[in-house]
Amino acid sequence: MAAIVGQAENFGGFSAPAPKWSIALQWLLLLVVDAFGIFLAVSIGQDGNWFFAIAIILTLLLINVVTLVPRLWPLKWVSPALALMIILSVYPLLYTLYIAFTNYSDGHRFTKVEAVELLGERRYLPEGGTAYRWLVFQNEAGDYALWLTDDAGESFFARPNTALEAVTPNDSGSAPYNEDGVPASINGYTLLEGGARFRAINDIQDLTFGDAGNAVGIQSPQAAGVFEQQWVYDSATDTLTDRATNTVYSANNVTGEFVAPDGNTAPIGFWVTVGFDNFARIVSTTLSQGPLLRVVLWTIAFALIGTLSSFGLGLVSALVLNGSSFGMRLLRTLMIIPYAVPGLVSVLVWRGMLNANIGVIPTTMESLFGWAPPFSTDPGWAKFAILLVNLWFAAPYFMLIASGALQSISSDVYEAADVDGASRWTQFWRITLPLVLVSLGPLLIASIIFNFNNFFLMEALFGGGPPMAGTSAPPVGHTDNLISYTYRLAFAAGGTKDYGLASALGVIIFVIVGALTLLQFRLTRTWEQVSENV
């Protein structure tokens, strides 16, 4: 990024007074960007995600400063890229880092405030309260009223802010009662049925009927009554009281729970920061166990072998098909097909083809040789199968880019080699490969990094299987790599989705990949030097 900024500053040297219309356009553009950004921040903030809202505001401020402060104008050209990088890359990274230090997981998905708020919405019928069945009426002015019937069969007519009125059958002012004992209209109010009733529901769900001492609200389609708030939070004592059972739950701000004296917890927990707990758990539960070492070895082996094998095959294909005849072009096109077919489709097809009972590869081999490799059940063959399928995916890609690299090698070099009497073989090792590596080296490293994190192939082909015996939890398979193991550890295997733990593992993997990337930069520089010397 430093390089890009540097370039932008160079451009700044050319700045000439901009025409008026250009400034106006910039301001207009800024106006739109700001308005959209503020709207985004406010609506995201309203949903409770303040971190993201603040990140957006800060980014927006940055854009404004860069655009409005003349000294920083050069930066304005990179500000869209910078802004996107902050929102899409830096922010998620920091957020993941933050989550890694919390216990954010199933059962701890809310902040304390949210948890208290959610519980505060729950209602209960206090002891001695009456639950009525209800029907809704409306008068011409649009006011609503309820027809309430209690368990004893007594009926009441309830209007907002008016005491409940007991109704006697065939009272004056009411239409004749139907078979359910309800009049079609009463006191100028008509019974709402069908669509009218459905449309009224959103209006009446928050109303109360009856006077202050007996304010009947609607709790469910079956029940109305004087329902009260069940969970009450007291910030002074940091306790939550369940009024239905009169149990006091004290907040445990270390584990993120409300705990009653007898050890039971309130229905909703909240998330808290837990320091290095998640990392400690990874160290104590996984690093000390055998599978992790095997998983790491396989991850590295797959990243290296998978990349180098597909690069090798791609390069060979490119060399062999490096002609311009029709046949060559056709073959080249055909080779690209695996690259063009959606990955998941290919993997599913491969999974079927490799199955020992119904797959075309094992059944054919079986009939030809009387033996077929147990692809999906033997750990070694399963790894082989994964490398094979990876070859199918990645070799065409390398063929494509290697073809390009081959075109760029000047034929002069080969002519000179011919004159010097170098064999084809020597030419390949001394000229072709080094020169191809100059341009493809960085891509190779990038591909190794990609394969290091190749979740898709591991999960889709055998789901990590065959399983590894003799391990402790969580279950892990022979073809699981670090990232799919992480997934199993944090989401698939545990009873709860543990985002905190997953984030901690993500941070660790990020550090590893970061180190690889640094290596890439270093190697790239080396290659650049090589190419300068050619």
């Binding site: 106006l31 700001d34 308005a35 959209f36 503020i38 709207f39 406010v42 609506s43 309203q46 949903d47 995600n49 404004n64 400063v65 409005l68 199933d106 059962g107 998905r109 809310f110 948890a115 069908g194 669509g195 009733r197 459905f198 449309r199 529901i201 959103n202 769900q205 609607i218 469910s220 389609p221 079956q222 584990t255 004296p261 007898d262 050890g263 039971n264 909703i268 079927g352 199955n355 009972n357 119904i358 094992p362 147990p374 999906s376 059940t377 299987g465 065959p466 399983p467 015996a469 003799g470 402790s472 939890a473 969580p474 279950p475 698939a492 295997a493 545990g494 009873g495 709860t496 989705k497």
Partner: protein
Amino acid sequence: MKRLLVLVLTLCILSLTVFPAVAQDRPDLLIWADSTRAPALQGLVEQFSEEYGVTAEVQEIAMGDIRSNLPVAGPAGEGPDIVVGAHDWLGEYIQNAAIVPVELGDVAEQFSPSSLGLFTIDGVLYGVPYAVENLAFFRNTDLVPEAPATWDEVFEITAELVDSGTSQFGFVIANNASYDFFPIMTAFGGYVFGRDDAGNFLPGDIGIGSAGTIAAADYIKQFVDAGYLNADINGDAQIALFSTGDAAMTLTGPWWLNRLREAGVPFAISDIPAGPEGPGVPFIGGQGFMVSAFSENQLLAQVFLGEFMATTDAMLALYNVDPRPPAFLPALEAIEETAMAEFQQAGAAGVPLPAIPEMASVWGSWGNALQFVVSGELTPEESYTQAQTQIVELIGAMDAAPTSVGLVGNFQALLGCASDWAPDCENTFMTSNGDDGSYSITTAALPAGDYEAKVAFDGAWDRNFGAGGTAGGDNILFSVPADNTLMVFNFDADNALSISEGSVALVGSVQSALGCPGDWQPECAETEMTPNGDGAFTLTTAALAAGDYEVKVALNDGWAINYGADGARNGDNIAFSVPADGTEVVFTFDATSNVLTVAAGS
């Protein structure tokens, strides 16, 4: 700079007024359904909107995403009012407070009781079921004309068919299909979670490593040993083999009906065969509608479900796109498909697929266990014991050694703790009885009365045990008959806490002189000490010859709990001397401080 501030302020106001107006209007009811059900619901919802003038919309979302996205989208205000999903999501949803109870009122009578049971947690209904589903036994009628009644018959038929070359496979089961394995497990006495009397699943009682489960795995192993099953039959292969007639029998559910009919294979559906422990029972799963806790129109959603969806027409519309036995009885009756009744019959005694969050920890290890057996990598016993260990570990590291075992209860303040029910109070930490994994503590400081107790590990509530050794179980009640009675609390390796009155015996080199058969015998009744009512126990004797002696105190006739010098548990012997033959020696044991004092001579 001032210019900048003014501008930003203007923009704030502008954006707050303009954009919300542009923001889209939500429909009154938004329903999330997967691609199978969405089209049927789409039609129903349009009809509903037209009929009642309430706007409703269906959003098509992948099944797995509905499950995971509701707790994320809901709090952000982007969630639906109603989701269509499976009953075993309930545990996770309730844990994340994502759904609210629903009330069906009188309509409830029209649903099959078992389907309502699936959506009921702790007596509260959380969903409106529309279909129930379970496995049944499928056979190819050309190969197996009569339905086998027992699993032994299934094996015999398989042997006959395969050995005679009539068919490639007999009975097939996918290599890691724990769901399909369950009906076999139950026929052999296995289970996943134990259940209490009310039918609730007990996450502390896991039966994956039980003898019944292993017996069922032994049964499958027979097939493997004889070459009738191999490790490479996965779910894809299972259906492929059965639909081509290469496999004669299997276990599967209604979701296969259409595919099998298209394949044209002649098949019949029957009950699950029986094993030594009776008929096998399948898991029962339910599909239904749940109301989002984040919905602002919960009442409308409930009325929609109770009055519009709970009708024969709506239920049949769903059945037609996704033929699974309807939970709504009038709809079930209206269906002419006999297979539905056969499935219902096969699942009549079924066990609800556990909806507790702990179930998520079971699948992986449970499925792998079968794969190890079928591949021959592990014996059934090794395999299922390993799975049990993994599951126990996942469900809450229940088997990890506790850092402390605390006796907690409403008496702790009396024992010098800061408060009652304090798991971190060191005064009531229990002490290990040795290698058998049991712990105990004694006290004589409690006044007469009734008390409640539990045991909590690690000074926290995360792992606590109540009645019957159940994790998070009910409080254990006990009473102290008289003030200062010596109470012994013993917590055994099965996490059960037992509470009894204690007896105290003087043990040591004095015992043979006091009429015991030998020295250091805690079970000897002759040296039992007498309680004197204030929490102390005494023994007085003048029968000792002059000399040096060593003594300790042992509780409840055994060495598990013994106290030595300074009242220390398993402490050093207490040495004393008797100056002359016949000196009166008084042994006093203070059961509160656990200190034994010896007074020789006056």
